[in-house]
Amino acid sequence: MNFYDFHVHSEFSEGESSIEEIAKRAKLLGYKGICFTTYLDNKNKIKKTKEITSKLSKKIGIEIFTGFQARNTSELDRLIKLRREYDVLLVKGSDLLLNRKAVQTKEVDILTHPEYNRKDSGFNHVMAELAAENNVAIEVNFREVLNSSKNTRANIMHKIKNNVELCKKYRAPVIICSGAVTHWQLRDPKVLISMGCLLGLELNEAKKSVSETPENIIKMIKERQNRKWIRPGVKVIG
């Protein structure tokens, strides 16, 4: 089974470790591929990150994808326009309107931690239905559990459990990511699977969320890179 971690921050965004350190650690832990997530400050950043990651990918022997995370609606609109130029589009959850827009948009791959910094879980049955319809994966972020403790951890796990339950009911894809900001926060895929099980997923569903769901996203990436692709659901035939 191939494992992927699709939400890792390097020194290019809010992370502390270099891309090389993270890629080497991911390889050691048994990942087949990882996605470095960064923010869109300017257009040149896409080219720059792609150049660095493609060199490292060959050097270390691990698939590296470039992901851009939208922090607000205007950033999301800008990223949708440039959708062909990078691999994965993530949306930073927390704001209710942004969460809703993310699950409504077909171009979005992952809605990261919808419950982040919120009193409620930031996700409801309407959003779950939309996420399933538009194939937007809902993220279970391991860093949120790792960096919290006692009552905060209990609250976060409760909110994630609620979201997972909704995703299961409406068959929305779930993806488990480490959300690491240093290479020390990367975790063994088995640890992520186990955490998924504790958060309400069945063992086979938890395994799918670190292998099959990312693989489906990779399929979409390859489809998008095809010249015949125009936008989700529209491509040139013949």
């Binding site: 559990v145 640890v191 186990s194």
Partner: protein, 122 residues
């Protein structure tokens, strides 16, 4: 007076065990002792699962199998609590002042097969 030995429980009534081999990846290849690791595992698991949850896991770090040089160890638990134990290991990010990560090498039902896999890694 010689104490009477407890009668051995039938195999079908015994708790099913799982053994998991793990390796500690640390900064500057620091060597940790058995007691360092044991206390870290117990503290984290008690925090995360609680005393009642911990009682269900029957977790035990095997002292004879701790390889201090390669930082490889074997943890024993019952078959129903593997996910809880693995997730708890993932929540250990420090041992003393050093940052660490656990790599799960293998999970098996017999100590024989787990020992053969750890000897290959070591």
């Amino acid at each position: 007076m010689k104490q009477k030995k407890l009668k051995i429980v039938k195999p079908t009534l015994r708790e099913k065990e799982r053994y998991m081999a793990f390796q500690i990846i640390s900064e500057e290849d620091e060597e940790f002792t058995y007691s360092d690791l044991e206390s870290a595992i117990w503290n984290t698991m008690l925090d995360f699962l609680g005393e009642e949850g911990m009682s269900k896991t029957s977790v035990w770090l095997l002292k004879d199998c701790w390889d201090q040089k390669n930082q490889i160890g074997i943890l024993k638990c019952n078959n129903k609590s593997v996910q809880e134990v693995v997730a708890s290991l993932g929540l250990i990010d420090r041992l003393g002042d050093n940052r660490i990560t656990f790599k799960i090498l293998k999970i098996s039902g017999t100590i024989k097969s787990i020992k053969s896999s750890t000897s290959k890694n070591g």
